[in-house]
């Protein structure tokens, strides 16, 4: 005989929906901040910085809902992992939002400048981490560990691109020390995206933990 726990299941569904909502926003935020950087669009960057508040608000909602479900429904096993994982994913997504804000802040600091080079690899990195974000959330929704592992592999591509960007910026700085200030900021952006990808990988780990109950290390 099956029994259902309607209230509890509704709560868990809502938790999932909030994660998906955060994931979509984060995916958009990193893409938009890269576009703002490419065109040094300060106004857009300021809008993106302000928008981050909404992301934080969703994370708070997830914390409150999760705490209330734990207190009232006393979940165990996978139900409990689902809530623990929601906390962890929400916190990763919140950090990813912050990193997008950091990129937007770089745009603000570049106000009035022209870029020292056309940006090619940074937007490529941003495209990859956008996809990683999408896939990590898909993996969460579908409880698809294979997708989680596949997504985590892209982190290596991101790391390789980051190393390449740093080398390139180094060469530019040595050639022309006047570029140092901007090149430095652009290398920060590379670093932000690289960190962003690590958080996406963490989400993949959370998915594997949710499904299997064991914690893998997808970063290695």
């Amino acid at each position: 005989m099956m029994t259902t726990r309607k209230e509890f299941d509704l709560g868990l569904d809502e938790l999932n929906a909030l994660i998906v909502q955060m994931g979509k926003r984060v995916e958009r935020a990193v893409g938009d901040s890269m576009l703002a950087l490419q065109s040094v669009d300060v106004e857009e960057a300021r809008r993106l910085i302000a928008e981050d508040k909404e992301l934080n608000a969703i994370e708070e909602k997830i914390s409150e809902l999760g705490a209330s479900l734990i207190a009232r429904q006393q979940p165990v096993a996978k139900d409990l992992r689902r809530i623990l994982v929601a906390f962890k994913i929400a916190s990763d997504l919140e950090r990813m939002g912050d990193l997008s804000v950091d990129i937007a802040k770089v745009v603000v600091r570049l106000e009035g400048q022209t870029l020292i080079k056309p940006l090619i690899d940074l937007p490529r990195m941003a495209d990859i981490v956008k996809l990683m974000t999408y896939e990590s959330i898909q993996a969460f929704v579908l409880e698809d560990t294979e997708l989680a592992y596949k997504m985590a592999k892209d982190d290596d591509v991101v790391d390789a691109l980051y190393a390449q960007i740093i080398r390139e910026l180094f060469a530019i700085m040595m050639e022309n020390p006047k570029t140092i200030s901007q090149a430095n900021l652009l290398s920060f952006v590379g670093r932000y995206i690289e960190r962003f990808a690590d958080h996406a990988t963490n989400i993949g780990e959370s998915v594997v933990y949710l499904v299997t109950g064991t914690r893998p290390d997808l970063n290695s």
Binding site: T3, F8, V76, R81, G213
Partner: protein, 251 residues
């Protein structure tokens, strides 16, 4: 942790009803083992086989082996009274005798031939202290046990069981008739007692099993579905049926 109770290929029938099916498990000494499962799953039946309480139910037939400390408790040489001295039991409803607090605890030792007042006094005090009831009753040991609250009565029943110096304490839904505070006191008491006794408990309250036991056994339709460390069983059970039951989506 060594094994104290060794159950092998145990089948139990109530007439035509096959209540326990091929149950095998090792229950470790000086730990708390909890039996959980929906009503009619066989968990209380198994508990009652451990001190042969099922003997009293007509039509009960048993196959297989239950050994306590290496001795087959269903062998002809085993005296049931001696067995029950070694395997004490506490029930769902506190059932003190309509006697004084003192006489409740002294009942068992007297039955086993202890007459000396000094010795009885000592046993009564030690048992009541072990059951964390001494401080509440020491000034009125002659008062009727029935004047105690439900939670106190249950601790008195535990003291009474401890007075004959058992190795094993069986708790059959021992807190289900108690209020939450008394329940927590009994749970705390069980935690303290497990250093000296082997405790086996049946509980309908899964969270109680999760809170207090070291091992948990999940039963379904007379079979053992899963026997794991409690932490493992409640965080990542092996069997989907266990997951469904402990998540409240089944049974």
């Amino acid at each position: 942790m060594g094994t104290l109770i060794d159950i092998g290929k145990l089948h139990l029938y109530y007439g035509a009803f096959h209540a326990l099916k091929n149950v095998s498990m090792d229950i470790p000494e000086k730990a708390i083992t909890a039996f959980i499962g929906p009503s009619g799953c066989g968990k209380s039946t198994l508990l009652r086989t451990l001190n042969r309480m099922n003997d009293m139910i007509p039509g009960t037939r048993i196959e297989g082996r239950i050994a306590v400390g290496g001795t087959d408790i269903y062998s002809k040489e085993v005296d049931v009274e001696t067995l029950r001295k070694k395997v004490g039991m506490v029930f769902q409803q506190p059932n003190p005798f309509p006697k004084s607090i003192y006489d409740n605890v002294a009942y068992g030792p007297r039955l086993h031939g202890i007459r000396s007042k000094g010795q009885l006094d000592e046993i009564v005090e030690t048992s009541l202290r072990s059951a964390v009831l001494w401080d509440e009753v020491k000034d009125h040991l002659k008062r009727s046990a029935l004047s105690l609250s439900g939670g106190q009565q249950q601790r008195l029943c535990i003291a009474r069981a401890l007075a004959v110096n058992p190795d094993i304490l069986l708790m059959d839904e021992a807190t289900s008739a108690l209020d939450p505070i008394s329940t927590l006191k009994i749970e705390e008491l069980a935690q303290e007692l497990k250093d000296r006794y082997t405790i086996v408990m049946v509980t309908h309250n899964m969270h109680q099993a999760a809170r207090v036991s070291n091992q948990t056994v999940f039963f379904l339709n007379g079979e053992v579905v899963e026997y794991s460390d409690t932490e493992k069983l409640f965080s990542n059970p092996r069997d989907q049926r266990t997951e469904d039951y402990i998540s409240g989506r089944f049974g």
